[in-house]
Symmetry: C2
Subunit: 405 residues, 2 copies
């Protein structure tokens, strides 16, 4: 008998029928002799519905209250799943993050897990219960409810698995694993049997939505293997773990893309010290992450400054940057919301030259213009026109032989 | 500066606009210099929606899980009200029943409050916060969430007021007070300025829906005056307290009616010992409350046995009683869901004869047949045909001079 942590996402339990199906899957696992701890997200669009409520009451809802409000979404799904398990004749108990002993700091909406006290979970397992834990949430030392932010339920699952010392953490979702590229765009994309933490981290950070990078990072820190698989089928998923064989490593492993990109160009800026500070400090104060920053070579003391941000924040950024640009003597400030990031990722890239050159040549041959470039040791990202993304994925998939294992 | 506990019902906060209005009312009170603790029910039909979810997953949902599920309704309304207060520039904090220190026994769906530890509430008040407490819920010693059952939020409010030692507990609802009879049926019905706990208890138990009898009982035990008033207008409400003057007491104070009545008659039962036991024990085991029981005089060892129950339980009761009736040799078993209770209530009745006679005479003159009668020291209840209720209320209102104070 071994202990397993499973996580089911919101689309896997979006209605009563799906909940009952998931209950049956969990029971099969239990009947095979395992002890099961299940982490769930909120059902379907519950979180969006609660956010809509809040925005009807306030344009800028108080963060402590918003976290407490949102935490009810996962309690609703946890209790309903426990009810479904009881209905099928199995003992189950649902626990809020607080009850499950998940202690966090007080950074509302993006709290970090400080510690897990697994006493209650262990007590319930000992009684023979299937334990359902509401994902995405925890409790501060003052007994206030926090949420962990995006990817929170994945993070809860991996953290619990690490604390409980399970052999694996299973993340069930609406896709059946990690693909070499988005199979909706590249039909020949291949599902990976396994992938390294580092590679998954880059893919997830640069647009692959299958698992949140934060959970992958936690898995890496605790060396907790994470299986990503479908909650609807019995297909083999993708195992995220350490120590992929050298032969496999020496390749591009996957292609990620991200449409949530916008570019801002401040045109004709006088090139003098302090300009960057006066532009980027106000953005940092507004909590806006700036991604890539490029400054052209200065011609006669005048330069252009370009940076990228999340597309959803373009409006706010322009409101902040426009007046500043004019006050520092820039000619203009232009926003562009038609861009996307395309990234190739592979651990093998860190020791082998030539990947960047092959990527640029591939784009050139396909008539795809590269607007900006960023890299890490195991990743090369090009910012291109959004409309070119399908072409870009297909040509890269072919160039780097991703059809083959 | 004094401390006040206010409670707002679900219809008072059914949508964003109503929530904002209630926030403004609370702020006015705060700005008058009072410290405010607010208890809220779930918004509008939230509880029904959660129950519907649960019933889609299981015909007989696990009680612990159901309580935990339902408790989210009041957390949603509490947090949204706190968000509305913040939005209007006031500090507020919402607390679950658990956070507010409400400890209960573990009788899920009808938990009793064992103790209140008001430490957190007092701490938040000291910080200048308006404190919003999710009604209807508490926590067991094992940190499991319970609900208090029907009228739970009223009970939370009165219990908190008693523990915090406020001068008054204010219950705001969708009616503007306690009336001498239902003003929808008797347009001349008069709103009472005040009423005794005992009288209110009888009125509430026999159909007046303005406040739950359990909360009135708690008010009586702790001698906590309860104001019932409208959450939409500034009209004076009704004060439930002790020590109404003798002159006022010596009258019928109000008329209650209740349509949730059904009658079951077991016809032609052999009149021998043990018959009642064999009928009523199974009902008690099924958790069904039997109200009035009448047994006719036995003729040649054969009798009829009639009892009343909540109309909503008639189906279940017939399923249980029919087979038993036949097995004990009864001729038949008949359910009747067309009845209602009409009650007159007044503390003065306990020392003064003649009220019952005047009630029966009034019904006789109006052509209203009385099916069954029950009484307490300060109440006389007649069970009549449902269709006669409007007539009955009007003629009683006139007979007992309820138009006048």
């Amino acid at each position: 008998m071994s202990l397993v942590v499973q996580k089911y996402g919101g689309s896997s339990i979006a209605d009563a029928e799906k909940l009952k199906n998931i209950a049956r899957r969990i029971i099969r696992r239990k009947e095979e002799g395992d002890e099961v701890v299940v982490v769930v997200s909120a059902m379907g669009d519950t979180t969006e519905r609660l956010l809509r409520f809040a925005s009807q009451v306030s344009k800028c809802p108080n963060q402590r209250e918003l976290d407490f409000l949102l935490s009810t979404g996962e309690i609703i799904s946890s209790t309903l799943l426990a009810i479904a398990l009881h209905d099928q004749g199995h003992n189950a108990v649902s626990l809020s993050g607080a009850q499950a002993g998940i202690r966090t700091d007080a950074s509302y909406s993006r709290a970090y897990i400080r510690a897990i006290n697994p006493q209650r979970i262990l007590k319930e397992l000992k009684k023979g219960n299937i334990v359902i834990v509401a994902g995405f949430q925890g409790m501060t030392g003052d007994m206030d409810i926090t949420t962990l932010g995006r990817g929170g339920s994945d993070t809860t699952a991996v953290a619990l698995a690490a604390k409980l010392g399970t052999a694996i953490c299973e993340i069930y979702t609406d896709v059946s694993g990690v693909y070499t590229a988005d199979p909706c765009i590249v039909p020949e994309a291949r599902k990976l049997k396994e992938i390294d933490y580092e590679e998954m981290l880059e893919l997830a950070s640069y647009g692959a939505k299958v698992i949140h990078p934060r959970a992958v990072e936690l898995g890496k820190v605790y060396n907790m293997p994470i299986l990503v698989a479908s909650s609807f089928t019995e297909e083999t998923g993708t195992l995220i773990h350490e120590g992929i064989s050298m032969e496999i490593q020496n390749k591009v492993r996957g292609i990620a893309h991200d449409l949530n990109v916008a570019k801002v160009t401040v045109v004709g800026v006088p090139d003098r010290p302090g300009i960057s500070t006066s532009l980027f400090e106000p953005l940092a104060e507004a909590g806006i992450s700036v991604d890539t920053i490029v400054q052209n070579a200065s011609v006669e003391g005048i330069t252009d400054l370009t940076f990228t941000i999340n597309r959803s924040e373009l409006g706010r950024v322009m409101d902040i940057i426009k007046p500043i640009s004019l006050s520092i003597g820039a000619k203009d400030c232009i926003g562009d919301a038609t861009l996307a990031k395309v990234s190739i990722v592979g651990i093998g890239m860190q020791n082998t030259p030539g990947y960047a050159a092959r990527m640029f040549r591939t784009f050139y041959d396909a008539g795809i213009n590269i607007e900006m470039i960023t890299t890490s040791e195991i990743r090369i990202t090009c910012i291109i026109k959004e409309e070119k993304v399908p072409d870009a994925l297909r040509v890269l998939h072919s160039t780097f032989d991703l059809y083959e294992d």
